[in-house]
């Protein structure tokens, strides 16, 4: 089985790749396990750290048709489309966000359509598709009402993927990811970057600034369960999915205060004390507009799992990233 990951040099892309290589197989559309024979990692920079004959590293601009034609052929069975311009950057650089989040997503669907073999496409969307006046619990039939260009572009790509699936051009699955926390590495331009930073930096012995107020609630998922959901999402039987291809992934709804309390519980007061507080109105406004509790019943019924608690999320981060508590 041939598998493509766009955004394959990113954090989730690399982690997904490692998990796929470790499993060695994926279910085919009939539910039968098939060996992964080729795993293409496409990104604007080369994915590194893969020494595996199954891996093919490709560098290119995903908004270029020839690049996509070079990585999708009529035997590509599974596509994880993770490449995206993150929320903060898509708000600051409108044209770039439109080009990658909208045009490239559409182009990917078009290349699949041209190949004609109806590949499975997992597309990562975001809770940022919701916004404005929302019910306390966002349901699966709550109107998408994005308040950012990022959320708009994701919502549009969702609509495209639904229609391309309905027409039989692809077999698409949209997974609306909660904010992923805790991400390792450096802060990025996502408005949600702090949701990892306020845990990661203190655990690294560094101080960090939290740009949103303590009572702000966020909807979170650990990288571990995000990766498991991406794979489970690909393997869901198309007939079970039916016409509605979008799923809210199960998350946990926690306030910043509760996140800090969990950090204190797991790592101690001296670690939690490394957070400084200074509201950044630009970030605070974006984050305050996000949905904080979503009905993920359908995803759960399909076997996709969230985390038990945020303390558990921190513990899995410490384990996965081999952090030494001091």
């Amino acid at each position: 089985m041939k598998v493509l990951i766009t955004g394959g040099a990113g954090f989730l892309g690399q982690r997904l790749a490692r998990e796929l290589l470790s499993r060695g197989e994926l279910k085919d559309p009939d539910g039968k396990p098939q060996k992964i024979t080729e795993l293409i990692l496409l990104d604007v920079v080369a994915a590194t750290g893969f020494d595996d004959h199954r891996v093919r590293i490709e560098v290119g601009d995903i908004a270029e048709r020839s690049v996509l034609e070079g990585v999708i052929d009529d035997t590509t069975s599974a596509i994880f489309h993770l490449a995206a311009i993150v929320s903060g950057q898509a708000e600051a650089e409108f044209d770039l966000g439109m080009r990658i989040n909208l045009d490239a997503s559409r182009l990917l669907l078009e290349v699949c359509r041209m190949r004609g073999h109806r590949p499975r496409v997992v597309f990562t969307s975001s809770v940022a598709v919701y916004g404005g006046e929302m019910p306390e619990l966002v349901r699966s039939d709550t109107a998408l009402n994005p308040q950012t260009s990022y959320g708009t572009q994701k919502a549009i790509a969702e609509l495209l993927l639904n229609d391309y699936s309905r027409r039989g051009f692809v077999d698409g699955r949209v997974l609306r990811l909660p904010t992923i926390s805790v991400r390792p590495g450096k802060p990025n331009a996502a408005a949600s970057s702090f949701a990892s930073g306020i845990i990661r930096e203190p655990l690294n012995g560094e101080t960090t600034v939290c740009p949103v107020s303590r009572s702000t609630k966020v909807w979170l998922l650990s990288p571990r369960n995000a990766i498991a959901s991406l794979i489970a999402g690909l393997e869901i039987d198309a007939d079970v999915l039916g016409m509605q291809r979008a799923l809210n992934l199960p998350g946990i709804s926690v306030s910043i205060d509760e996140m800090v309390a969990a950090l204190r519980e797991v790592a101690g007061e001296h670690v939690a004390a490394r957070i400084e507080w200074k509201v950044d109105p630009r970030i605070d406004k974006i984050v305050a507009g996000w949905a904080v509790r979503l009905d993920a019943t359908r995803a759960e019924q399909l076997g996709l799992k969230g985390d038990a608690s945020f303390a558990d999320v921190i513990r899995s981060y410490i384990e996965d990233e081999k952090i030494r508590l001091t």
Copy 2:
């Protein structure tokens, strides 16, 4: 004031043009009436029947940037974007629908953005943005869930118009039109074409075939009130609209049986008897998926009006089109 109508040679476009010329003025963004000095009618064919120094007829492909740049300058104050590929045709010709309903709409917004003067743009959307499992009364917060490519393309254009408005590139207004009935002229490729045909043809002394079952309900608006709503929609104060630019226009929910009963009431049994019944599964399936009752409270609060009854709709058609009852 300079005004542009795309789809200006179409039925609604021509009728809107005549109404604007007759009124002679539109409110500016501050609510002050301003004389219409130029009215551009853009379409793929030349609009005819206008002998008025204010009218400029333009023929061109709206998906070509140069065409739009030729009709939108930084003094264009009001744009009615009506050009579209109708539902049946967008389903049959996917690429054409994407090109006109999505790409051209985006291009129009881009040209406005480039001009930099934040013109008011009225965009006609459709109840076809709703679909799948719907509540009995579709609310303003019901999720868009289009089940056709036409509905998908309209939903995407709505999202774009909202984001371009939020960013201050345009001052957009989306009006979700009910099925317009009674349209004069010939049947067209819209799946809703019958909703005019079953009234128009019998009134013309011709037999017609109804392709949907008698119990099917539809959500209707007369051309007269549609045109009034387009103009009122343009004139709504931007501050009152706020962030949510889409409005469900007020319609009436009637079954085909009730439409025929109204025709019988207004024109007699011998006229209603000119309808033949033969379900076309392709049309029936599309129409059965449409929303049949929508909450239009917000539009009504903003002064937009629907029709009192379908018998009234037929009477206004007879009056407007100078039909002689036989």
